[in-house]
Assembly symmetry: none
Homo-oligomer: 192 residues x 4
DNA sequence: TATGAATGAGTGTTCATTCAT
DNA sequence: TATGAATGAACACTCATTCAT
């Protein structure tokens, strides 16, 4: 499901098949553990990925590099969903499905926020790049719906993204409350 | 600004002046460090408060007790601001000032979220109690403005609270963006 | 049951009734906690005795002073039992009752051994004095029985005392095994 | 002197030469410190073994695991002595040498008792297994001597073991007294 | 190259002891 | 005098990171 599936990359990322395999496994393992929230040590990540701690460090020299890799992959996956719903579903259905997917997805990041903030501070490029990618995804879905006349036009993707995304991050709302609020937002968006 | 200023409390909180002083200092030190986000060890809190580590532990036997104390105090302060603006300012000004105060305030909690979530899990009473207090504060301001006819009546305090509060928690929004979004929300609330 | 019941002591021990009362309470509380074995902090002792930690330190400036006081009191109590059985019971019954009492008593000291050893090292007088007192007690019972012709005469009190006392201290024997072994020893002692 | 000298073990103990070396060093260091009795912190054990604290924890995740390892090794060594004297010495000499060795050995455990008791409570298997091993060792020596007709036959290994072993544990007996008492016991055992 | 053993600074927490009230 | 608040050294234990095999 990830996007970097080519065997070689310009920046010299893993060539050998097993190395690439390990890279993916590690990101996946880290994602799962970050979502579970507890005991996310480097050791635990390596173990869950089924490799030695040394191998983890070969791929990601610092802990924060793991955080960054997970987040880049996360963003990529959301963007891919956007691209998919736009071509596969009706405009309104697309935005409905996308927002709920986005919410469900984002909810898994709650425990990950402090690490993420740190990653942003150390590497501002990460923030701007993923920001753009996410904005693009939301805009893609939103503007398609707006062009089809099913969604209000006085809202920017950034505003939607800000409200929805941040809402999901709150420690104060339950999953159910988030879903209900999304319903409210969708109601507000719809042209009747 | 805190509310418990009487020399004795019914629940048996510290009576001795120096003990009360230390208690306040510790909460204050903890709040500052939680806002700064990094290096929030018990040692650091005690040091910033200017007391020995043992004193910190006498007041708060577990780390999570510090988190809880800071949060309770936080909630109290927000509620107090609500009560103050309602009597001191015009209805619309009150809601405007309150929401911006709330936002500025909540922004300081960003780094504090994971700890807070853990505290909620360990002590559900903390969540419900502070939830009620906050809801009450927001409702006080909102309903006053609604009765004065300056704010739409089709919104509940809970919705306001949910949107605003969670927005502030996002790692993805800058302080400036939050302030701008608050402006948008206020615009949406106003009866014109 | 303790022996120092006079209101004044040559060495300047507590004069005031409440102080003496506290002293006794503290020793009693400490004994109970040492037997239970866990969490025998100075704080816990003071609490169980119903006094403040400061009061504990007024009576016993160092932790080891509590250990010493408990042990002196222990020895005294055993000696008193010896003196009592000798006058109140038949010779054989006396030794039988005494040894079982001694065993039951000594079993409570198991968790106390390391502290005791330390006390001996810091204050050799404690060891020799209590040693003498205990030896005297055992000898009193033993020799009375020997003179009455119901117990073998080729054993010294020291040997009895060594075997029985140390047996009780073992981590390796259960209470039941200790009782059984005492039976064996009594069998061996008896003149038939 | 230890028994596990093969490079690999069935249960997955450390394979790497340096790891095995460290394991042994750590047990040895811990034994020495437990015998000395004071200041037996994990830090002190690691230091004495010449490794970092992390290495100690890699080998023994909890303090009690060190206690257990030391005790298992202790028991093993005593058993090995028994097996050796039985084949290398005359029956009476064997029992004489063995008991004195046992005593000297056990005396080193005095300061170790409370830790040991805790280990027994947490892991009853430890108690039963080592108990069996020790009983077997004593029985081996005793029965060999009994079959050779040099020792009384009306004593079980358990009784010997109970008396001798526990005697050594006493805080109240000096090393010399223990040796003397062993002499007495040997006298009592001998068939004349 | 992959592995996992080694490292040690850092963390939460305890507790004997001191001292202000 | 009795109280309990304050102190800080010490402890068991964790984990990111380095390095030998």
């Amino acid at each position: 499901m990830t996007i970097q599936e080519s065997a070689t990359t310009s920046e010299g990322r893993p060539q050998r098949a097993d190395a690439r395999r390990n890279h993916e496994r590690l990101v996946e393992a880290a994602r799962e553990l970050f979502e579970e929230g507890t005991d996310t040590s480097m050791e635990a990540i390596a173990k869950r990925a089924g490799v030695g701690i040394g191998t983890l460090y070969r791929h990601f020299p610092k802990r924060i590099d793991v955080v960054e890799a997970v987040y880049r992959d996360d963003v990529e996956q959301v963007a891919i969903v956007a691209e998919r719903v736009v071509v596969e579903l009706e405009p309104w259905e697309a935005i409905d499905v996308f927002l709920h997917a986005f919410v469900n997805y984002a909810l898994g990041k709650r425990r990950f926020l402090n690490e993420l903030r740190e990653a942003f501070e150390k590497n501002p490029e990460l923030k701007s790049a993923s920001r753009e990618r996410l904005d693009g995804a939301v805009r893609l879905v939103l503007e398609t719906a707006q062009r089809a006349g099913v969604v209000r036009t006085d809202l920017t993707s950034e505003e939607i993204y800000g409200l929805v995304g941040s809402m999901c991050m709150s420690a104060l709302l339950t999953t159910e409350q988030c879903d209900r609020l999304i319903g409210l937002i969708l109601d507000g968006l719809r042209v009747r």
